[in-house]
């Protein structure tokens, strides 16, 4: 029973530690720049963060869906991604893109 209590305490303290460091990463930039504001040279770089960041999230999800590089038509994520990119360009509509992208992926997988 005592061991179980100890384990409980351990798990809760891990969770609280994770919450604290996660919040630090989220509030960090505001704390660092709170007195100085963002320097101009940095702002010029930061302007490109959204584009860079979105691309960095998408590309591995499409090119390495299983953890290894797969550039072939056997990769249903890649095929669906290419078609979805075209749909996204034409329609700029999230729902249409998701429905067509998912349909392609499911069709290729079966």
């Amino acid at each position: 029973m005592k061991g179980e209590e100890e384990m409980n305490f351990k798990l809760i303290s891990i969770i609280i530690g994770m919450a604290l460091v996660t919040f630090i990463t989220r509030i960090g930039s505001q704390v660092i720049f709170t007195s100085t504001g963002i320097p101009a040279w940095l702002e010029k770089w930061l302007k490109h963060v959204p584009t860079a960041f979105l691309t960095a999230l998408i590309t591995p999800a499409i090119l390495l869906p299983k953890g290894y590089l797969d550039i072939s038509f056997n990769n249903s994520y890649l095929l669906a991604g290419i078609i979805a990119a075209f749909i996204a360009y034409k329609t700029k509509n999230v729902l249409t893109t998701i429905i067509i992208g998912m349909a392609v992926m499911i069709y290729v997988n079966n």
Binding site: M18, T22, T25, Q30, I38, K47, P50, A56
Partner: protein
């Protein structure tokens, strides 16, 4: 503090809820399977339903939570190791926070903390898209962030409670909904040669990083490298003309 809190609450009704819901609902389909899986895997790794839901409520960072669960599952229970790894995985938030900070500084303190606590890849992506289309609105970010927060917490709880009776939700392939949504947010941004080049550098760096670096490091590496390249291109061009 009290003054700010009441300010925050008084303006709550000005949240553009329709717009928030319209933008969040598609991505919700991608988040629910992750939340369910988080609950199921958490139970498998030895967390109670309360503990894993509590984690989703106070940490609210999918990638870090999955990492912690995987570590526990493989017998790593050292506090320092798990907490430090969480910190490393979430370092990308610093960059996201910095890129929004010129807007965040103008908000009252309480609101800044609420927005910081709830910032995720998804709500950040929706917010920068809103900025591009209609300008920044703190209550849009607040609404989107906490809508996704509730979905995340609730689906974790559901997964934790039902973990015996549902198969692995990520096998449904619904996880692909999130990159698909990001794709729609990215493509309208690629309007000039600089943006295209930034995206190209980011894509190459991300793939190389994903192949050779552990965890989420590829995101930080690609975002830093590509945005610096973007900054340098702009500086070079200004010197030219």
């Amino acid at each position: 503090m009290d003054k700010n809190t009441s300010y925050t609450l008084r303006n709550w009704n000005t949240v553009i809820w329709k717009e928030v819901l319209k933008d969040c609902l598609p991505i919700t389909a991608g988040i629910i399977p992750f939340g369910l899986t988080c609950g199921i895997m958490g139970r498998t790794a030895g967390f109670s339903a309360f503990q894993i839901t509590f984690m989703s409520i106070i940490v609210f960072a999918g990638a870090a939570q999955f990492m912690a669960i995987a570590m526990m599952n493989s017998g790593i229970t050292n506090w320092g190791v798990i907490v430090f790894t969480t910190f490393l995985i979430n370092l990308r938030h610093l960059l996201m926070g910095a890129s929004l900070s010129s807007y965040l500084f103008k908000q009252p303190r309480t609101l800044q903390y609420l927005l910081a606590f709830s910032m995720t890849d998804e709500s950040y992506a929706l917010t920068i898209n809103r900025i591009e289309k209609k300008g920044y609105d703190a209550y849009y970010q607040l609404g989107a962030s906490y809508f996704l927060y509730i979905i995340w917490a609730f689906s974790t709880f559901l997964g934790a409670v039902l973990y015996h009776s549902i198969p692995n939700p990520l096998e449904w392939g619904l996880d692909f909904v999130i990159p698909l949504t990001f794709l729609v947010l990215l493509i309208p941004r690629l309007i000039n040669r600089t943006a295209l080049f930034v995206a190209l550098v980011s894509a190459l760096t991300a793939v190389l990083g994903a192949l050779h670096l552990p965890g989420k490091w590829y995101i930080i590496l690609a975002a830093v490298t590509a945005s610096i390249v973007g900054g340098l291109i702009e500086r070079g061009r200004r010197n030219e003309f």
